[in-house]
């Protein structure tokens, strides 16, 4: 599965780069330059990508011509807007280092960072917030 995923990425990469509908044969020929790969493997992967909605295809004689349904930047923007959505239900599976916040909030964070000298410049125990000794 992992290799299939990698092949999917490589194929999408080529098709985005070419910017035109391409036959499976063309993709196979291109990929064969730096690896040995079976025609049927590439065909299966491209059919999968079509089924998942990443590629659309048109008849060309007896073969299909495939092209991406959207641009790479369009997909990236959609992906990131999903990833950065503030609605927690849309990103339960994702864990962010820090959530998106207003410039105002970010400025207050910067102020807190700059306003606190490195530990060497202060007596750490005397500076500990008083609330921390409280019982629950």
């Amino acid at each position: 599965m992992r290799q299939f995923g990698e092949l999917e990425a490589v194929i999408m990469d080529r098709l985005w780069e070419w910017g035109r509908p391409a036959l499976v044969r063309e993709v196979v020929d291109d990929l064969s330059r730096d690896r040995s790969i079976a025609y049927t493997t590439v065909m299966t992967v491209m059919e999968n990508l079509h089924r998942k909605g990443w590629l659309r295809r048109q008849r060309d004689g007896r073969a299909w011509r495939y092209e991406p349904t959207g641009s790479r930047s369009g997909y990236t923007a959609a992906l990131m807007s999903e990833a950065l959505a503030t609605n927690p239900d849309r990103r339960t599976a994702l864990a962010h280092f820090v959530l998106q916040m207003s410039p105002h909030d970010a400025a207050l964070l910067r102020e807190a960072l700059e306003g606190t000298p490195p530990p060497s410049a202060q007596a750490p125990s005397a500076q500990a917030p008083s609330a921390e000794g409280e019982e629950r």
Binding site: P88, V98, Q100, A112, S125, E132
Partner: protein, 330 residues
């Protein structure tokens, strides 16, 4: 009946008063993992109490009632009395329905939630693989995007994702600290802890405890990931990285700081996300003493107590009946 009332009283009491205790518990930021355990124990003990209340109502009317008492050699009458239900079969039926509802609802909510999260995770990870490119040196996927962000996707294919803007904004040390934070989420399966809390919340959404527990667990996993990251990385570096990403996380270019901060303006007027980030920074810059061994032991005992309370309440009369039933002519 007494038992069922006691169990429901516990569920109601803990469900409504619990949040106040959780909200006041300042120690949680000194021991985030222990805090998570307490939150989950409290939330799920309430679910268990509701289920067991139904079960104890039902137990009287069934053959299990006398069977059980014979089994443990206790006086049938006495055991019946303690679990006795006025209204007999009807109340027993309601009890059974309550117990069944709790069990099935739990199973359905858990399955639905976990399936949705897993599908979402798989789709997201796949999309990242297609539009991003692997960065083997970082063991992360790099996505070209003007907003600085770093996050991870758990699930079948755990992945750490960094945007190009984040890569540019952070120096190598900061980046390493951020990646350590994200890997801590994946290594400790934090998403499972968050999911446990959220499933409990979906089961009894009207209980304030559930909402509070889910919020606390989501907050505490971040603190725990910070702690894990700063075990191997400088705390100030991680704190700085947090501020940098907060500044560059928006689409608009960050305006000059001085325009925005009115003199004397404190943490007031911050959004919840901002306040949470502020707390993390303060915590990293001025680390508090870890909890004493005694406090830790007490809290662990507290968590175990919370988890066991429903079971003890449900079984207490049977145990008492067992003890008394063996005393001749008592």
């Amino acid at each position: 009946m007494t038992v069922a009332v006691a169990l429901l009283a516990y569920a109601t009491g803990a469900g409504t008063l619990g949040p106040r205790l959780l909200g006041q518990a300042r120690w949680t930021q000194r021991a985030p993992l222990l805090g998570i355990v307490i939150c989950l124990a409290a939330a799920w003990s309430v679910v268990a109490a509701a289920g067991l209340a139904g079960l104890t109502l039902a137990v009287h009317a069934t053959a299990l009632g006398s069977g059980l008492s014979q089994l443990i050699g206790a006086c049938v009458i006495r055991l019946r009395d303690t679990y006795a239900t006025p209204g007999g079969a009807l109340v027993a039926g309601l009890g059974l329905a309550l117990a069944a509802a709790v069990v099935t609802r739990t199973a359905v909510a858990a399955a639905t939630h976990l399936r949705a999260v897993r599908r979402h995770a798989r789709q997201h990870a796949q999309a990242v693989r297609l539009v991003g490119r692997p960065e083997p040196a970082l063991d992360a996927m790099l996505v070209e995007h003007p907003q600085a962000a770093a996050y991870c996707v758990a699930g079948p294919d755990p992945t750490v994702i960094v945007t190009t803007a984040a890569l540019q904004a952070l120096d190598p040390g900061q980046l390493a600290a951020v990646l350590a934070h994200e890997r801590a989420h994946l290594a400790w399966h934090h998403h499972r802890l968050v999911a446990l809390a959220r499933i409990a919340q979906q089961l009894l959404p009207f209980l304030p405890l559930m909402r509070a527990a889910a919020g606390q667990v989501a907050r505490l996993v971040e603190l725990h990931a910070d702690d894990t990251a700063t075990a191997a990385h400088d705390t100030r570096t991680l704190a700085t990285a947090l501020v940098v990403l907060a500044e560059r996380g928006g689409l608009a270019p960050a305006p000059a700081v001085n325009e925005l901060v009115a003199p004397g303006l404190g943490a007031t007027g911050m959004t919840a996300a901002g306040a949470e980030a502020l707390q993390r920074i303060q915590r990293m810059l001025r680390p508090a003493q870890p909890l004493s061994r005694l406090r830790r032991q007490l809290l662990r005992a507290g968590a175990a107590g919370l988890a066991l309370t429903p079971l003890l309440l449900a079984l207490a009369p049977a145990v008492v009946a067992l003890a008394l039933g063996r005393v001749p002519a008592a």
